[in-house]
């Protein structure tokens, strides 16, 4: 068996999103001058007291231009960790911002939502955010799934940041379950993600990471993998979504988490879902195959055009490989993956792959496909009980291999060209 893999589904690997405030708008009126001092970097006697001065201008009934200026200053504060902590300490301030984030125009809902995005990027601030407004998740969910809401993308980004942690993720599940009678909230979320043009003004890319985070929970995976429905099938084409790596990454992360359910592997790999071509296609390049090899590939991978590009994001490529690796945990799964020509795609990927850690993951998967079958009783690699000391040894070996791989690549880059050629892997 290869190195130790993740023992539980992981959330989206994307880094926390921070939105920087652009150029400050022209200040208007004498009151704006007073606001300018609040956001300045000069320390004052009582910073908390200074931040509290923003509160009247954030009220729903305040003048629109003053609201906008106040929100801009709040956004500026969230650019630094002390600023975020300062804002999060003001429950009333948070409530006011949340109210603005879901208020219709001319309220500065977009900027207010961006403040929330930056605050939610800090896991330590999730608790005060949710404490300030218990209905925060329900409100954001309503905005996200409203086909008319112009700032639905920003609302989804807040949800993506919040749902990275277990407690807010569980709370979001409850909000989804309570979101309305009739069809489930998860179904509405999947439809919003999979329906092109669901919201004419917001592409909803961040619903991908939201779903990926939610799929860490067994209830979500059970819904996605319900064979009596058509849910996971609708996600598959999004692995090739051209306009957003955020969306692609979210969907691939979701699929990878679904692949932990080895009891569903036969269904996932079978004709009803046919998941493997959608995991291999982003890893396939424009290489030529012989007619014999071509016939062994799924139809989606045959006769790819010369301008075919591989997935440009290395993290997504790695997640795709990890998903396929999970599908090879059982003997029937290994056979199905092998029979559909996965080795051909991975062989070419391995030659092309520039990222060391992705290349290592690719090598391990190739080893599984072309290596011997495990001993009797160890066929299901996800159910094998690995002793703790063995697991620690395997993890240590993993780290050593990755370090060595990186060192080799660094040597290649630093060494003179003739030596580099000589050292090139065969």
């Amino acid at each position: 068996m290869g190195g130790a893999t993740a023992t539980s589904p992981r959330g989206a690997a994307a880094p926390n999103e921070l939105i920087r405030m652009g150029d400050t708008e022209a200040e208007a009126g004498p009151l704006a001058g007073r606001l300018a001092s609040v956001g300045s970097a000069m320390p004052e006697a009582h910073p908390t007291a200074e931040a509290a001065k923003l509160l009247p201008f954030l009220a729903l009934e305040a003048r629109a231009d003053l609201q906008a200026a106040a929100v801009q200053h709040a956004l500026a504060l969230t650019g630094s960790e002390p600023g975020r902590t300062l804002l999060a300490g003001q429950a009333a301030l948070l409530r006011a911002l949340i109210e603005l984030a879901v208020a219709p125009a001319p309220a500065p809902a977009r900027e207010a939502t961006r403040v929330l995005i930056n605050l939610a990027a800090d896991p330590g601030l999730h608790k005060p955010l949710l404490a300030a407004e218990p209905e925060l998740l329900a409100c954001l969910l309503g905005c996200t799934l409203d086909p008319q809401w112009p700032w639905a993308e920003e609302a989804a980004a807040v949800l993506a940041n919040l749902s990275r942690e277990p407690a807010p993720c569980a709370a979001l599940m409850e909000a989804l379950a309570a979101s309305g009678p009739g069809e489930s909230g998860l179904e509405r979320l999947v439809r919003a993600l999979c329906t092109p043009g669901y919201n004419a003004r917001a592409p909803l890319h961040y619903l991908g990471p939201v779903l990926s985070n939610l799929s860490q929970r067994p209830a979500t995976r059970a819904f996605l993998l319900d064979p009596d429905r058509c849910v996971v099938q609708r996600l598959l084409p999004l692995t090739q979504y051209p306009d957003s790596s955020v969306r692609r990454g979210g969907v691939v992360g979701t699929l990878r988490n679904c692949c932990f359910e080895h009891r569903h592997h036969e269904w996932l790999l079978g004709p009803e879902v046919d998941i493997l071509p959608f995991l291999l296609l982003p890893l396939a390049g424009p290489e030529d195959f012989s007619e014999e090899e071509m016939d062994r590939l799924p139809v989606d991978l045959q006769y790819l055009p010369p301008d075919k590009q591989r997935e440009p994001d290395a993290d997504i490529r790695k997640m795709l490989i990890e998903a396929i690796m999970l599908l090879t945990a059982t003997a029937p799964g290994r056979k199905q993956v092998r029979d559909q020509g996965a080795y051909l795609i991975l062989r070419e990927l391995h030659s092309w792959e520039p990222e060391p850690d992705v290349q290592v993951a690719c090598e391990k998967l190739i080893q599984v496909l072309i290596g011997d079958e495990p001993e009797h009783g160890l066929e299901n690699l996800l159910e094998v009980q690995v002793p703790e000391d063995v697991e620690r040894q395997l993890q240590q070996q993993d780290r050593q291999e990755q370090e060595q791989c990186k060192r080799e690549h660094q040597e290649l880059e630093l060494a003179p060209e003739p030596q580099a050629e000589g050292a090139a892997p065969t």
């Binding site: 069809e183 179904e187 439809r191 009596d228 429905r229 058509c230 099938q233 609708r234 004709p271 009803e272 046919d274 071509p277 139809v299 989606d300 045959q302 006769y303 790819l304 055009p305």
Partner: protein
């Protein structure tokens, strides 16, 4: 006290009724000789409704008909009656009549959108079974406008798109239906099927595109190879232009060759970048020809002639066509001149046969018709044969061979493949245009079966 009286009355009535039978004969019954026909006219026992109802012939049926289709009944009632009638026809698999009934129901324009949606959907089903998938699709689309959540219409529409090979649309309709009923099994199966067919279709499109691009590259490689050898291409369209054919024109040649050459042979390039040509040998003495599908540019005429004339062909009545005695000519049409290999001399020399075809092709005056070099080959020995002398005399345009016997003969020659070809025939008539020599000789050329020289 009235009860006993009533009872007495009924008893009396019954008695009088029975007495009536004893005194009067039964009337109004079936006639013995026509009872079957009369039985058939009673609506209850009718086996088949008449196509047209005549009130005199079928008064009972006419009465029922007028009750059913009474114009005073509401449009909704009439539409429903037509729907039920259509459903009956549908069950009997009489889909044409079902369509008519549903159409009549729709014409009532009743105010019930649900009923109209059902009429559209049912008519769509009937149209579907008649194979009118596009009409069926129009009907389910109309039904969905009236009743957006009508699942039967959505299922039918997805089936129509599947039959029309609109696989992407079929998947979309399935998804829309699954929004209404997320676990509808028929839609789940149909969606998987449509998705599979869509992906297969996309693969076939990619395959065809790649094949087309590959052929284009091959053609470009061929043209490059020809130009690299300074070989000029000539066609009727560019007959007046002595310059090299343009790229587009060359493309036209290459693309047209496959359809014009009945043997399907075409110019090809091997791994070392060497060309093989389809070559035609003409024997004007007997109006015969041989076709060589792949004449490698580095191979020699003599090697092909040795194989082709290893055995005497049936038309060589005098058995004089031996490789050693053969001369090879080609014509320069622009100048109406005849050349023997690379040698101006008309003398009988075996040397020209030693040259590979590439030398001849690269000569300045060489020309190629539709990618098939045309060669003239006929027999002569050290002693001039009667035909050989006559042929040269005719081509030279002189009555007798003059002192300038070494002057090249003058000949205009064109070769065309016939528009229609009997692929099963081993012989082929080549219509030769502007062949003054053959015209004067009154000959028609025949082509032998292909001989391939390895």
């Amino acid at each position: 006290m009235e009860r006993p009286e009533l009872e007495a009355s009924s008893d009396d009535a019954m008695d009088s009724f029975l007495e009536k039978f004893q005194s009067q004969p039964y009337s109004g019954g079936f006639h013995e000789d026509q009872w079957e026909e009369e039985f058939e006219k009673i609506p209850l026992f009718m086996k088949k409704a008449p196509s047209e109802i005549d009130p005199k012939e079928n008064p009972d049926l006419a009465c029922l008909q007028s009750i059913i289709f009474d114009e005073e009944r509401s449009p909704e009632e009439q539409a429903k009656t037509y729907k039920d009638e259509g459903n009956d026809y549908f069950k009997e698999k009489d889909y044409k009549k079902a369509v008519i009934s549903y159409t009549e129901g729709l014409k009532k324009k009743c105010a019930d959108p649900d009923l109209n949606a059902v009429l559209y959907t049912n008519r769509a089903a009937a149209q579907y079974y008649l194979g009118n998938f596009r009409s069926a699709l129009n009907d389910v689309t109309a039904a969905r406008k009236l009743k957006p959540c009508h699942l039967k219409a959505i299922v039918r529409g997805a089936l129509c798109h599947l039959e029309l090979k609109n696989y992407g649309e079929a998947v979309t309709w399935c998804d829309e239906g699954l929004q209404i009923d997320a676990t509808e099994k028929k839609l789940l199966e149909m969606r998987a099927k449509a998705d599979k067919l869509k992906r297969t279709e996309q693969r076939d499109i990619r395959k065809a595109k790649l094949k087309e691009k590959k052929e284009q590259h091959q053609n470009e490689a061929l043209l490059q190879a020809i130009k690299a050898r300074s070989i000029r291409l000539v066609s009727e369209a560019a007959g007046e232009d002595e310059d090299s054919a343009s790229e587009g024109l060359g493309e036209l040649f290459l693309n047209g060759l496959s359809s014009e050459n009945p043997y399907g042979a075409r110019l090809s390039v091997d791994d070392q970048g060497r060309l093989s040509w389809p070559v035609l040998f003409l024997y004007p003495e007997y109006a015969q020809s041989d076709f060589i599908s792949a004449f490698h540019e580095d191979s020699r005429f003599i090697d092909h002639l040795m194989v082709m004339f290893g055995e005497t062909p049936s038309w060589d009545l005098e058995q004089k066509y031996c490789p050693d005695n053969l001369e090879v000519y080609f014509e320069d049409e622009d100048r109406a001149e005849l050349y023997q290999g690379s040698n101006w001399s008309c003398s009988c020399q075996p040397t020209p046969q030693q040259h590979p075809i590439l030398n001849s092709l690269s000569e300045a005056r060489d020309q190629i018709h539709l990618m098939v070099p045309s060669w003239i080959c006929f027999c002569c020995t050290t002693m001039k044969t009667p035909f050989s002398s006559r042929y040269k005399t005719v081509c030279l345009g002189h009555d007798t061979l003059g002192p300038s016997g070494l002057q090249p003969p003058s000949l205009t020659w064109e070769t065309h493949w016939p528009a229609e070809t009997d692929s099963g025939s081993s012989d082929m008539v080549l219509k030769l245009c502007g062949v003054r020599g053959l015209e004067k000789l009154g000959l028609t050329l025949h082509c032998r079966q292909t001989k391939r020289v390895m």
